[in-house]
């Protein structure tokens, strides 16, 4: 039967390719996988075009040889601030190659970073528009964070350095947080779905928590695009619990950051935020305690002084009373003393008496009357010689 060898077929395919596709060609795709060989420096990738579901529309392996790769990566980093990573939408300049052993592959020779930025920006804007139109964009932001955030649901990856840093800072505080980890992929093509699923899990147990924390980071400048995903942010916006993000990207804020109730820069910033909140409440308690003891002291002091002043008033009233009585007594005494006839006599007055009565007037006396005269030191009997009345009594 008419046949050709495999290698001959491969050669024909190669030929056909080089004639069929004008090479090199700019192609847009997403990075499904990316691995850089440490020794060789070559970068091996899998480029995909997502079909909207879990099965992509197209998938082709790609390679960027060391020289091109380091140049591209540097250029990309200088424009976007990020490294090439899984999940990114990129514009690559490729040469399609067919190798008799390795099959079809794309050789990447150049990159246009602006496309990636543009794509991210476009996705971001689109997501924001949709969420705004549907009226959900403000929902999580309008939730109020409880005064004490103690029971925390954390969405992160257990291996991530960000998670470890977060837990370290939390553990270092004197407060008793109750942290529950809901694991999710925090980067790559599945990240958006994974985080959304974790959020849904937390939402089912919403009454067990005070807030949800979404953290990622650890220094690498990896892609934020999963956090611009409409599907993820739609779920996030409608979370019944306030979301606190610490997704670790200081260039742009992702839509997730925008939608969240509280946004922090890094996982440690989130931990510090939570600890500070506890500290604030703790401080309020201390203040309440001080106020309490101050008020008690005030009230006791006031009561004491009230009692003291009443005591004083009482003793003053009693003293006054005594003094008045004593004065009255003294006056009476003096009056009595003054009225005593003996005091009259001692002052030189004499009392004239006649037959049992005191003579009060000269009129009752005649010459020859016999009278008795009392002195302070004795009595004499006398006979009246002469009576002369005062002219004005006539």
């Amino acid at each position: 039967m008419e046949h050709i060898t495999l290698s001959e077929l491969a050669r024909r395919i190669k030929l056909s390719l080089s004639e069929g596709v004008p090479l090199p060609v700019w192609v847009s795709a997403e990075i499904g996988e990316i691995k850089v060989n440490r020794t060789s420096g070559h970068c091996y990738m899998e480029l995909v075009e997502s079909g909207g579901g879990s099965v992509p529309k197209a998938k082709i392996s790609a390679v960027a040889w060391r020289t091109q790769y380091s140049a591209m990566a540097a250029h990309f980093r200088s424009v976007t601030g990020s490294d090439l990573s899984v999940g990114l939408s990129v514009l690559f300049r490729v040469v399609v190659t067919f190798h008799e052993l390795y099959g079809l592959s794309l050789q990447v020779v150049d990159i246009e970073p602006a496309y990636t930025l543009g794509e991210q920006e476009r996705q971001r804007r689109e997501t924001i528009e949709r969420l705004t139109k549907e009226g959900v964009i403000d929902m999580n932001r309008s939730l109020s964070l409880p005064m004490v955030v103690q029971r925390v649901a954390v969405i992160s990856s257990a291996q991530a350095a960000g998670y470890r840093d977060f837990m370290e800072h939390i553990a270092a505080s004197p407060y008793g947080f109750r942290i529950t980890l809901f694991e999710a992929l925090m980067q790559g093509l599945q990240a958006a779905d994974s985080v959304a699923a974790a959020l849904a899990e937390v939402a089912d147990r919403a009454d067990e928590f005070d807030a949800v924390v979404v953290i990622r980071g650890g220094g690498s400048q990896s892609d934020l695009s999963c956090f611009n995903s409409y599907e993820l942010c739609y779920v996030a916006a409608q979370m019944p619990l306030p979301i606190i993000t610490g997704i670790g990207h200081d260039k742009d804020t992702s839509v997730m950051d925008l939608v969240a109730c509280v946004e922090q820069k890094t996982p440690t910033a989130v931990a510090d935020f939570l600890v500070d909140r506890m500290r604030e409440f703790d401080g309020w308690l201390a203040q309440a305690e001080v106020q309490l003891s101050q008020r008690v002291a005030d009230v006791v002091a006031r009561s004491r002084s009230e009692i003291a002043s009443r005591e004083e008033m009482l003793s003053m009233a009693v003293t006054h009373l005594f003094e008045r009585r004593r004065d009255a007594l003294l006056r009476a005494e003096m009056l009595v003393a003054a009225s005593d006839p003996r005091s009259l006599l001692s002052r030189g007055y004499a009392i004239v008496r006649r037959e049992g009565g005191v003579v009060l007037s000269a009129r009752v006396l005649r010459s020859g009357s016999k009278v008795e005269i009392l002195f302070a030191d004795g009595r004499v009997t006398a006979t009246i010689d002469d009576v002369k009345l005062n002219v004005d009594t006539e």
């Binding site: 103690q150 008793g176 409440f281 308690l285 106020q291 309490l292 009561s303």
Partner: protein, 63 residues
């Protein structure tokens, strides 16, 4: 005993006591009761903040 008092409820009660105490005529008898309750609430919140669950039950007697 009902379920644990929330921080918000404790804070509200504490605020109410403090504002009562700021008033001009404070009865010295109700003062003792208020102070005891306020001290209880503060201790409860402190223990809960520290995450010490067992202590919490002992502190709140009449709730």
């Amino acid at each position: 005993m009902a379920e644990k008092m929330s921080y918000g409820e404790a804070m509200q009660e504490l605020e109410a006591i403090l504002s009562r105490l700021r008033g001009v005529d404070v009865d010295i008898d109700t003062l003792a009761v208020d102070v005891k309750r306020a001290t209880e609430l503060i201790a409860y919140c402190r223990q809960r903040l520290a995450g010490v669950e067992e202590e919490v039950e002992k502190i709140l007697q009449n709730d």
